[in-house]
Amino acid sequence: MDIIVCVKHVPETAEAEITIDSSGKRILTEDLVYDINEWDDYALEEAVQLREKLGGSATAITVGTEETDSTLRKCLARGADKAVRLTDKAFEGSDGYATAKILRNAIKNLPYDLILTGAQAGDDGYAQVGATLAELLGIPHATMVKKIEPAEGYARVNRELEGGLEENLEIKLPALLTIQTGINEPRYVSIMGIRKARSKEIETQGLKELGLREDEVGEAGSWMTVEKMFVPPVEKEAEILKGTPDEVTSKIADILRAKGLI
């Protein structure tokens, strides 16, 4: 089975301080640590596990600058056979739609049975690139997938719905599936894997090689243009308890006692 997995190199922001830059349209990224998007990490693992079980190939592909190579190297170290970076100055400012067009042009000539992406990205959270890409390629898709059972010409998959419910459906191959976290347990990278990955080549393709025009990508090829970024308005704010750990824990105990909770 030939599998393509689309990954994104994103900043880790859950515990980092985020500052909006002077343009008001972007955040400052210098101090942020980048890694593979969490959802894509599960998609990559799923691709590698399917390849190990069924044979074939797993190709990791991303859109980004040279800096994204660390994410692609991670994919190679974790078992991807090949890594491709789609890179061009013109791609900057692409929204989910423009990104999907770039991926489409790279993937349309490759052999594949399955395309996997993360269900969403932790930075801009569009959750749209996968299904958009599937439509551009003219193949069926299923999003938020928690289980894949491939068969001859089709796959049985579970999609996550709300409240713990899932739905099981049958989908014809080739298909695109967007992967939800928790579908598997992403493996640790072995030292051997890292060594092997270091010597592998990362193939790059730009605007021309992909047969794209400048107005199809970047901001010109996007549906959305950022007007401004701002810190979310605070409707209600917690009373932050100040003091040493000893003092704040005493305050919490007092609050709980006053409310009759202890």
Binding site: I27, A134, N168, W223, E239, D246
Partner: protein
């Protein structure tokens, strides 16, 4: 008159809350732009839903077909692209749910229409459609403009707009013949898979200790287990903890888990992604412990401690233990 579409979402006989939330927002937009609010209801034997929707929309478009019994984005896409092409609404609102996520991007792409997903606000400013979205885990908001077009598709984050019960609009019901061609589907719904019944029902607990990514390692679980035991509470969690299998699925609070309303919710190491907040924000008392003072969890908590949880939690356990002993 031009219409504004809201796609009704329902599952297993229940109209989902996001539908009324979108209709409330849709009504405001329709009034502002002098368009007619139309609820689009696709399904099979959906009469009850239609009746309810007439209170919230000027028109309820119904397409009834046994093939629409269960949601299939492919079938929905065929019908909606037909309806949008025929009726040319100014805007179509769809929920950013597992249903909308599967449908909106491919629908917009097929129709070559501007799409904005997971929006927490949407407005027509003159000729321009603007949206507000959250990025970087809810730490930053983005206001964006969509490229000008005759019609747009926008998906709305659930629980963003209030579902107001205002003066009924007394909408008309319009039935349209199903335009679905014969079986050409490449996707087929098989069945719903229910979550396994757990040992503990977190929705029944008075005191919940909710834990998140900040716990870092499974080896750190005892410190929160001990706090829960001392308080007589039950452990609950955000998604990453279930993904790592440190707690079973039935302990997950949020959109893809359970909605809880305990007397006390202590959020430990939870940054507060909206998916989690949606499930616990109505708790009576919320105390959050998280080292990032800007974490979104502090926007719903009553009290917050912006400190390393490993410094606070063990100490808190002994303080509570002390109070309990003192009373005994």
């Amino acid at each position: 008159m031009t219409e504004l579409f809201v796609l009704a979402e329902h599952r297993q006989g229940e109209l989902r809350d996001v539908t009324i939330e979108m209709l409330t927002k849709g009504r405001e937009l329709a009034e502002k732009t002098n368009t007619e609010l139309t609820a689009v209801l696709l399904g099979h034997n959906t009469g009850d839903h239609a009746k309810r929707l007439t209170d919230h929309a000027k028109r309820v478009l119904i397409i009834d077909d046994p093939k629409l019994q269960n949601f299939n984005s492919e079938t929905y896409q065929k019908i909606l692209s037909h309806l949008i092409n025929q009726r040319k609404p100014s805007l179509t609102l769809i929920g950013q749910t597992s249903f909308g996520v599967d449908l909106a991007p491919s629908l917009a792409t097929e129709l070559k229409l501007p799409l904005a997903t997971d929006c927490i606000d949407v407005d027509f400013e003159g000729e321009t459609l603007t949206v507000v979205r959250q990025v970087y885990g809810g730490k930053v908001n983005v206001k964006a403009q969509l490229r000008k077009a005759a019609t747009y598709i926008v998906t709305i984050r659930p629980a963003t707009f209030e579902a107001k019960e205002t003066k009924p609009l007394g909408g008309e019901i319009v039935r349209i013949k199903s335009p679905i061609p014969e079986d050409t589907e490449s996707k087929r719904f098989i069945e719903y898979v229910q979550p396994p019944a757990g040992e503990v029902d977190i929705t029944a607990a008075d005191i919940l200790i909710g834990i998140g990514r900040g716990i870092k390692e499974v080896g750190n679980m005892p410190i929160v287990e001990e706090l829960a035991a001392t308080l007589g509470g039950v452990l609950a969690c955000s998604r990453p903890i279930v993904d790592k299998e440190w707690l079973p699925t039935d302990r997950q609070v949020g959109t893809s888990g359970k909605t809880v309303k305990p007397k006390l919710y202590i959020a430990i190491g939870i940054s507060g992604a909206f998916q989690h907040i949606t499930g616990m924000k109505n708790s009576d008392l919320i105390i959050a412990i998280n080292k990032d003072p800007k974490a979104p969890i502090f926007r719903v908590a009553d009290y917050g401690v912006a400190e390393d949880l490993f410094k606070i939690v063990p100490l808190l356990k002994s303080k509570i233990h002390g109070v309990k002993e003192g009373h005994a």
